[in-house]
């Protein structure tokens, strides 16, 4: 055999190869993290403008003037798209997954470092393209993040549906390509690069969650990519995949025979798994953090793995529950509805197991733990509105109302973001070599938890009362006008909560330069990233290949010297 030079042995020199076009998964992870951080502030700012408009439709916003209905719809579309793709999909998987998956399985890097770099820079291009939609003639599209055809397919259907809509769908297509590259890399890395002794059933639950998310991404993004290309063709090449014969504003369009429902099927075949792509890494982080800070092994490790696998499996069979009111066959609603209820079961198992993990533990309340506990609370609250929406008969009343908006924001929005906050506070010391400020972390947590509930819980009341979503103002329909006080309350809550996020940003950047130096294992945790130096060397373990002897969550082991046994500790201590 020819001896191969270890490509990870030497760190690259020079600023560009080290920080810009880096092949190091840690640098790429941090690049993804900052991309998502930028995106989340853009997305959050858009939501602030939306909330101001919803509460006071004729108010003039400094620098923007009055927000018109078409501007509101453009904000709504861009908020959804940026948040779902460039935040919820980018940070948990591309950011933390990239940084910690290789280290947690004892690998020196991802399986395909060049592909990894390409995947990040492709995502970056996608982000630039979507931002460009704001600045072209006609502005950003108004068809919502779900882009239902024919609205999204017809340039004459509304302002923003011209070049803005082309850029929107192009950006999504670029994002799909990037995600497919990332997914391949994650799957190969997990299967091929595990250290000696790191069996699948010794992998931290975070690794399982990134692995399963990657499989979902591989299967889902390909479909969205194809759907997006067909939409571009309908828009620009005169095809009719999604558009039947329609008359817009008295003009007969040149399309014929297409099916608007085809777009919905393809979109939601991606869109539902996407929900799990956003939340699974959060589940992984919550499990990791709850176990670490309860000083107790995770309750039901195998059940947690099987639950995530079955969530992934069922996740591909429930897309039709977004379409109960779409004109799809009422018989198929039965199947989609039962399968949706089934997916509630593994979600419930996970919740029980998180509570079981804390039960009889010794809970330490550092900021990562607070966010993991908040995650569980939000996951429960957002999850329990699921069985309402999963019943087609209740969807007659609730579909396309704020009840749905409250539901998905709590579970795939805020719960997933709490997962990211937990991950940030937890791994920051390893990534940046310094500790974040605990006091401000706690202040940030309490404001954010109370604030997000104050924003999103009233949406359920609004939806029950028939409050339709995607209305730029509640002034034109009498029964909706009566619900306006709820909108005003939610806007105040949003302003306070958004302001509280400045605490996080300041803490993040201040700590990066001024925080106290972090030790190698500040949380007394057990997984491999805590066995290496802080921050880890270029090849992660300084030329050593770790050997794994224990499961990932060995806390409070009777007979052990400390209250935790690290995965690489010698076999002398009996764990199981």
């Amino acid at each position: 055999m020819v001896a191969m030079e270890n490509p990870h042995a030497h760190a690259p020199q020079g600023f560009i190869r080290k920080y810009i076009f880096s092949l190091d998964h840690k640098v790429i992870g941090i690049q993804y993290f900052f991309l998502a951080l930028t995106a989340v502030f853009v997305g959050m700012f858009l939501s602030l403008l939306m909330r101001i408009h919803l509460a006071w439709p004729s108010a003039s916003v400094p620098l923007f003037g009055e927000i018109k209905p078409e501007t509101y719809l453009a904000l709504l579309t861009m908020h959804g798209t940026i948040m779902v793709f460039f935040v919820l999909t980018t940070a948990p998987q591309g950011g933390f997954g990239n940084y910690f998956l290789p280290i947690q399985i004892g690998a020196p890097d991802m399986a395909f470092p060049v592909l990894n770099m390409l995947s990040f820079w492709t995502t970056f291009v996608g982000f630039v393209v979507i931002l460009a939609a704001f600045f072209v003639t006609g502005g950003a599209p108004l068809h919502g993040w779900t882009g239902y055809a024919p609205l999204s397919a017809l340039p004459s259907a509304g302002p923003g549906e011209q070049l803005g809509a082309d850029l929107w769908i192009t950006s999504i297509a670029i994002f799909c390509v990037a995600s497919l590259m990332g997914a391949l890399n994650f799957i190969t890395t997990t299967l091929d690069l595990r250290a000696k002794g790191m069996t699948m059933m010794r992998m931290p639950l975070t690794v399982w969650s990134w692995f399963i998310t990657a499989i979902l991404g591989l299967l889902a993004f390909g479909v969205l990519l194809s759907a997006g290309i067909l939409l571009l063709m309908d828009r620009n090449l005169g095809t009719s995949f999604y558009v039947p014969l329609v008359v817009v504003n008295g003009q007969v369009m040149g399309h014929k025979g297409g099916s608007p429902l085809l777009w919905q099927h393809l979109f939601w075949f991606f869109g539902h798994p996407e929900v799990y792509i956003a939340i699974l890494p959060g589940m992984g982080v919550a499990s990791q953090v709850l176990s670490t800070f309860s000083r107790k092994p995770i309750f039901g490790y195998r059940a947690m793995v099987y639950a995530m696998l079955s969530i992934g499996f069922f996740g591909f069979m429930v897309w039709g529950h977004h379409m109960f009111m779409s004109g799809m066959s009422p018989y198929s609603a039965f199947a989609f509805s039962i399968l949706t209820m089934c997916i509630g079961v593994p979600s419930a198992i996970k919740t029980f197991n998180w509570l079981g993990t804390m039960w009889k533990g010794r809970i330490r309340f550092q900021t990562p733990m607070l966010y993991a506990i908040g995650f569980v609370s939000l996951f429960v609250s957002g999850g329990l509105s699921g069985p309402f929406l999963a019943q087609p008969v209740l969807d007659i009343q609730l579909h396309d109302t704020y009840f749905v908006v409250g539901h998905f924001h709590l579970i795939m929005g805020v719960a997933a973001i709490f997962g990211m906050f937990a991950a940030t506070y937890y791994w920051f010391p390893k990534m940046f070599g310094r500790m974040m400020n605990e006091t401000w972390g706690k202040v940030h947590f309490f404001l954010t938890l109370a604030g997000t509930y104050a924003i999103f819980m009233p949406m359920h009341y609004l939806g029950l009362a028939g409050g339709t979503r995607r209305y730029s103002q509640y002034t034109e329909v009498a029964y909706l006008a009566k619900l306006q006080p709820l909108h005003v309350f939610m806007t105040y809550a949003a302003i306070i909560t958004i302001a509280a996020q400045l605490i996080f940003v300041i803490n993040l950047f201040w700590s990066m330069f001024k925080g106290p130096k972090a030790s190698d294992n500040p949380w007394e945790a057990t997984t491999l990233e805590w066995t290496t130096s802080t921050p880890p060397p270029h090849d992660n373990f300084g030329g050593v290949t770790p050997v794994v002897n224990h499961g990932p969550y060995e806390y409070g082991v009777p007979g052990a010297a400390k209250d935790y046994v690290m995965q690489t500790d010698p076999v002398s201590v009996a764990t199981h």
Partner: protein, 269 residues
């Protein structure tokens, strides 16, 4: 810290629950035959999910307070889980979720499965377009006349908006209006259409919602049971004017309905 967290979680839980239970904002009073079933299934789901919500959140608050680390707290229990418990809660959740779903399925079937057309049904065709609703009654012949995309002129409103044929004999007695009139306690056979993009015909008080999709003609039925005026709100994002795409359903006595329809027919001649 454990205490503060417990207090916050409990407060959030209790305040949220209060506004549900007090019904400060609740389903609008129903005025259709399906109200009882739909609201019943809703209440059942609400009670069951409410119990789980309270148990899980209050339990979470209690656990974080009870098991906080103090100098005197006992060592954490070394346990990797319990299979009996896992199986118990898996089975219980499955029964709860799937059972709940099956209970609601009858109602869905009665509302949405295709049914034999009954000659005594009131027939109305609902057409959605940016940003208005039009309602067409087939007239004494009971047959909708032809419409043509080439004749559609939204700016003209009424018959011209839906592109009603000038030549088809069946179209002669068709009545097209911008407001929906229905007789009380009669089964209504609705045909839903859209000419440009997807709209959704949502009448909260009639417990009715259905997307109107270009290229499809969707048949559904419902029965209003109380005289009154009910607002229609478009429930599918259809463009710039989505927020003002509303309309009215006037549910009136049979007598008033007949008079109204006769007057429209007379106007047409």
């Amino acid at each position: 810290m454990g205490l503060a967290l417990m207090v916050l979680i409990w407060l959030i839980t209790l305040i949220s629950t209060y506004f549900f239970v007090a019904k400060t904002w609740w389903l609008p009073v129903g005025a259709a035959a399906s109200t009882g079933f739909i609201d019943g299934q809703f209440t059942l789901t609400f009670i069951l999910m409410g119990i789980v919500f309270l148990a899980a959140q209050l339990g979470l608050g209690y656990i974080v307070w009870k098991y906080k680390e103090t100098p005197s707290s006992p060592p954490a229990s070394y346990s990797h889980g319990n299979n009996t418990l896992e199986i118990t809660w898996t089975v219980l959740t499955t029964i709860l979720f799937v059972g709940l779903n099956l209970m609601g399925s009858n109602v869905w079937a009665s509302q949405r499965f295709p049914r034999e057309a009954d000659p005594s049904d009131v027939k109305v065709e609902v057409t959605g377009m940016q940003f208005a609703w039009y309602f067409r009654y087939p007239g004494p012949d009971g047959i909708y006349g032809k419409t043509s995309p080439n004749l559609m002129d939204p700016s003209a409103g009424g018959e011209a908006a839906v592109g009603l044929s000038h030549t088809d004999p069946a179209a002669k007695d068709d009545v097209v209006t911008g407001t929906m009139y229905l007789p009380v306690d009669r089964e209504v056979d609705v045909s839903l259409r859209a000419v440009d993009v997807i709209h959704s015909f949502f009448v909260p008080q009639l417990r009715f919602k259905q997307d109107a999709v270009p290229g499809l003609n969707i048949h559904l039925h419902f029965r209003p049971t109380a005289v009154g005026e009910y607002e229609i709100a478009c429930a599918e994002l259809c463009g710039l004017g989505h927020y003002k795409m509303h309309g009215m359903v006037h549910v009136v006595s049979q007598e008033d309905f007949d008079k109204w329809l006769a007057a429209r027919e007379a106007e047409k001649q």
